[in-house]
């Protein structure tokens, strides 16, 4: 179940638990938000890879297909049809961060009530540049407009089979990561599994505890540091603790 909270509540809650709500606090709210993001990305990726669910799929339509012109950057392959991933995605096995990729004629008369929905008719199959060589050996597997393939290279998805077609836009469903901190809206919906909020909170508290402890130990301010801060030196965690349970 997707949580029905917002990021601000999670951050404020953790800040309160860490007692970092006063003016001269050691850990800024943005830093806690950052902690939450890195932990949430890990937990969410484990959750998605384990559970088949469309709860975290982000779909984008009208992604333009373009051909990169020849340039001086050797790391930028020119002359091949491709699209740019609309967002950063989880790097699952076999590009599982891409739920689907398809193209369809947006101007076609909708016949969804009696026929196959348009967007499911021409879905792309994932391949790699090396694996794609074999595809051309068999006439039934050969990439074509009716049997298209894609392969991923970085933020680009290159398309095979559309070389001779004029398909201009694609539709894609992806498992997006959380936005980078600079783009985060604390008041936006926090797309995170409700049942994992507890683990998220505990792991962020651990990060905060570590952060609170370290500065006092390392700073040479001439103060006797025999007595440590209020944070615990050590945190004993059972191997059976949910924190140590990988989701896979």
């Amino acid at each position: 179940m997707v949580s029905n909270t917002i990021l601000r509540y999670v951050v404020d809650d953790i800040a309160k638990d860490l007692k970092q709500t006063f003016k001269e606090k050691s850990i800024q709210k943005s830093q806690i938000a950052y902690y939450v993001m890195i932990v949430a990305n890990r937990l969410k990726s484990q959750h998605i890879s384990k559970i088949s669910s469309g709860a975290y799929v982000h779909a984008f339509t009208d992604l333009p297909v373009h051909i990169e012109p020849i340039g001086s950057n050797p790391n930028n392959i020119a002359g091949r049809k491709r699209i740019v991933l609309p967002n950063a995605i989880y790097d699952f096995h076999k590009d599982g961060g891409i739920d689907y990729l398809s193209y369809w004629d947006r101007e076609a008369v909708s016949v969804e009530c009696i026929d196959t929905p348009e967007f499911t008719r021409r879905t792309f199959t994932r391949t790699t540049p090396k694996e794609s060589e074999r595809l051309y050996y068999d006439k039934y597997e050969k990439p074509s407009a009716s049997n298209p393939y894609y392969y991923r290279q970085g933020k680009y998805l290159y398309l095979l089979g559309l070389e001779c077609s004029d398909v201009a836009t694609l539709e894609i469903g992806i498992y997006s990561t959380f936005d980078p901190l600079t783009k985060i809206d604390l008041d936006a919906e926090f797309e995170f599994p409700e049942e994992l909020l507890l683990i998220l909170k505990r792991q962020v508290l651990d990060l905060g505890r570590f952060s609170l402890k370290m500065p006092q130990d390392r700073a040479n301010d001439g103060i006797d540091s025999t007595l440590l801060s209020g944070a615990n030196d050590q945190k004993l965690v059972s191997v059976n603790d949910p924190i140590n349970q990988t989701q896979q």
Binding site: K94, T125, R126, T127, L135, D138, K139, Y140, E141, K142, S146, N147, Y149
Partner: protein
């Protein structure tokens, strides 16, 4: 026809089952084309074993009188020459016979190792001056005479390396109809798969997919693959698998049904 064309299946009908059994809806380990290709392979194997399907095709006869045998067919059964758009066997057709050793890769050829001139075998019907058969057909006496002139009235062809080479006198006709054994090409949307082969196709494809997946995760798929292999019963062949059942059904298929099937599939070629 003894069956409704609506009973024929498309590759997608088979896929819908195979993908479910193999959990390959996302085509993560095999592609859709791979499975469709396996269907074709299975039907080819059935065709080799049972000759259950025949198909006929029309060809235009070119100046050199050469025809390439299309992919997917084998075992030429009958060849007819005709003019016009329709081939009505017995009405507007001429029989074409296979002539061993007739070789004409450029259109002009000869018969290699002709046995007709040695005096011991003067019955080669493809030589007008020595053929007893062809002279009988022409109302002659049937007495063979030695000679080397190819017959003008007996049409024949040779075959080499996938090319059919027709005799010079065939050029009086513009078209050829050939009956083959063999398998058609699949099309996603055209129902061309006989329903009687549905089970064996599903099992064949399921086994093939699991065979590919065994390498991905031997521990998980080895046992499942063995199950699929037994269910199919192709290698090793068993009497209990769907392969044997399909082979039996196709072998025992009635002549009328075979004719209907041939007619239906051949129409797809035109």
């Amino acid at each position: 026809m003894e069956f409704s064309p609506k009973e024929m299946l498309t590759p997608n009908d088979i896929l819908s089952e195979v993908l479910r059994y193999t959990r390959e809806q996302r085509y993560e380990n095999v592609t859709k084309g791979f499975i469709v290709s396996q269907m074709n392979k299975c039907l080819k194997a059935l065709s080799y074993h049972t000759f259950f399907t025949e198909t006929h095709m029309h060809f235009d006869l070119n100046d050199k009188r050469l025809i390439d045998i299309p992919a997917g067919v084998f075992n030429i059964k009958e060849v007819y020459l005709f003019n016009g758009d329709q081939c009505h066997i017995g009405e507007n057709t001429a029989n074409v016979y296979w002539k061993r050793n007739y070789f004409a890769p450029t259109g002009n050829g000869s018969v290699s190792r002709n046995k007709g001139n040695d005096g011991s075998n003067g019955k080669d019907p493809f030589y007008s001056s020595q053929s007893s058969y062809s002279s009988i057909a022409r109302g002659g006496s049937g007495i063979s005479q030695p000679g080397t002139t190819l017959s003008n009235t007996t049409f024949f062809y040779g075959e080499s390396n996938g090319t059919l080479m027709f005799s010079p006198n065939c050029s009086t006709y513009s078209k050829v109809m050939i009956k083959f054994s063999g398998i058609w090409q699949f099309d996603d949307k055209t129902p061309t798969i006989p329903a009687v082969t549905q089970e064996v196709l599903v099992d064949w494809c399921t086994e093939a997919v699991f065979r590919a997946k065994v390498l991905v995760n031997p521990q998980l798929f080895r046992t499942i693959h063995k199950d699929a292999e037994m269910r199919l019963g192709y290698k090793p062949e068993s009497f209990y698998g769907s392969w044997y059942k399909a082979k039996t059904l196709l072998t025992k298929m009635g002549g009328k049904k075979k004719e209907d099937l041939k007619e239906y599939l051949s129409r797809l070629n035109s």
